[in-house]
């Protein structure tokens, strides 16, 4: 057992290439489970890790399951953990945000949340 622990410590101290971990959702706008009074112009999702934009998606669906976003998901210029997707003016109702992201260490995570628009 002593050899196992020593071996692990050697690997830890020898591996200087510390990268990112699994990307979890940290904050979103509109917020997870929130109700907003006006149609948001975009959905912004902030993750706990930097994201590979080419392999990551954020989609917004209305209550009937129709995708309503503008298919233009993109990474924030100054924050590579923040994804944006634009929205057209939304009717009052419930919307579901579905995300799937790949962090820069190639770990894949996904999830979804709802928000509601009221007038």
């Amino acid at each position: 057992m002593k050899h196992i622990v020593l071996g692990f410590l050697l690997i830890m101290t020898g591996d200087s290439v510390r990268v990112e971990a699994h990307a979890f959702l940290q904050r979103a706008e509109p917020a997870v489970g929130s109700t907003v009074q006006a149609s948001p112009s975009e959905v912004r999702v902030l993750f706990t890790e930097k994201i590979e934009p080419a392999m990551s998606t954020v989609q917004v669906f209305d209550a009937s399951g129709k995708e309503v976003d503008k298919h233009d998901v993109h990474l924030d210029r100054s924050n590579h953990a923040l994804l944006h997707v634009s929205l057209p003016p939304l009717e009052a109702g419930s919307y579901k945000v579905v995300w799937r992201v790949v962090s820069v260490d190639t770990h894949v995570t996904n999830g979804s949340f709802n928000f509601r628009v009221v007038r």
Binding site: I4, I11, H22, F113, N114
Partner: protein
């Protein structure tokens, strides 16, 4: 579950039988995995094994509880466990522990427990229903630990079935129950020896004492019920909780052992363990109280605490990857 019968040979005037139950419910000595099923993150539970296969290290797991043995024995254990994926769905585990026994009126004994090896295979996963099922087999290698801390001289096999289920697929009308999840196991510990006989000389009477310790097959079963604040924040409702509270997972673990034969049938021991896990980027820390379910298990509340490293996040390009096959 061990049972000791101590009696003198037939030439003795009297036959004395001493029985005591050695509680096996102590420290888990195989690493319990963290993992994902769909969008559900499951932490590594401290007491009951879960179905995930991953690359991780528990260093250390510390526990303490007073068992009824010999009128009350404080059992303190420090364990280290490591798990490694061979393929994305198949992994192996290695565990070892240092044990200290302190009977109430005797000096303490310290030594190594037996080496434990295990393998686990995930054979079913439903991302939509956050469900995962696995089969596994563990082996405690007899004779690799120290007898002074009751490490068995014989090997014990432990096949088991493991399950995990998140409740993110519940309807929106009960959305605040979505962060709930359950993991658990059902297994059988099968010793390769039905009993152990030990002959000692009683220096007071000059007679021989023969100890017969029976080793029944034991049903091991348990589950963990957890409510993930991480899941609540990510999928249900941003409550505004800030770090570190937004990474907490309160849970209650239920861990039981029920002997199946050799005179100990149905004498279940176990504990209910309420506690808390905090999960970060590269590691988690957890602590639980250990509340014995009956006097066979103990009469005092024990504890278990663990520092657990996510090797797949710490070393995603080397130690934290499956040896064969791509990441899931």
């Amino acid at each position: 579950m061990k049972q000791n019968f101590s009696f003198k040979p037939l030439e003795s005037a009297a036959v004395k039988i001493v029985t005591f139950a050695a509680v096996l419910f102590v420290v888990p000595t195989t690493v319990w995995a963290h993992g994902f099923a769909g969008s559900r993150f499951f932490p590594a539970t401290l007491t009951t094994d879960d179905p995930f296969v991953n690359d991780e290290l528990s260093l250390p797991t510390v526990s303490g509880i007073v068992t009824p043995d010999e009128g009350g024995t404080r059992d303190t254990e420090v364990a280290v466990d490591i798990a490694k994926r061979i393929t994305p769905n198949f992994g192996i585990e290695l565990g070892e522990s240092v044990i200290n026994f302190k009977p109430s009126n005797e000096s303490s004994q310290t030594g190594f427990g037996n080496l434990e090896l295990a393998a686990k295979y995930e054979f079913f996963e439903s991302d939509e229903h956050e469900t995962i099922l696995s089969l596994g087999a563990g082996v405690e290698i007899g004779g690799t630990g120290n007898k002074r801390v009751d490490a068995d001289s014989f090997t014990t096999w432990e096949p088991g079935f493991f399950f995990g289920k998140g409740f993110g697929d519940l309807p929106e009308t009960v959305s605040f129950l979505k962060p709930l999840a359950v993991t658990g196991l059902v297994g059988v510990a099968i010793p390769t020896s039905a009993s152990t006989r030990t002959v000692t000389l009683n220096e007071t009477t000059g007679e021989r004492d023969i100890d017969i310790e029976r080793h029944p097959n034991v049903l091991e079963w348990g589950f963990a019920v957890e409510y993930s604040i991480i899941y609540l924040q990510e999928h249900v409702k941003d409550t505004g909780l800030q770090a570190p509270f937004d990474r907490l997972i309160p849970l209650v673990e239920f861990a039981f052992e029920t002997p199946l034969n050799r005179g100990e049938e149905g004498q279940t021991t176990g504990a209910i363990n309420p506690g808390l896990i905090w999960s970060g980027k590269y590691f988690q820390v957890g602590a639980e109280a250990m509340i014995p379910v009956n006097s066979r298990t103990g009469n005092d509340v024990g504890f278990i605490a663990q520092l657990h490293f996510y090797l797949d996040d710490l070393f995603p390009h080397s130690l934290g990857r499956p040896l064969f096959g791509a990441e899931k």
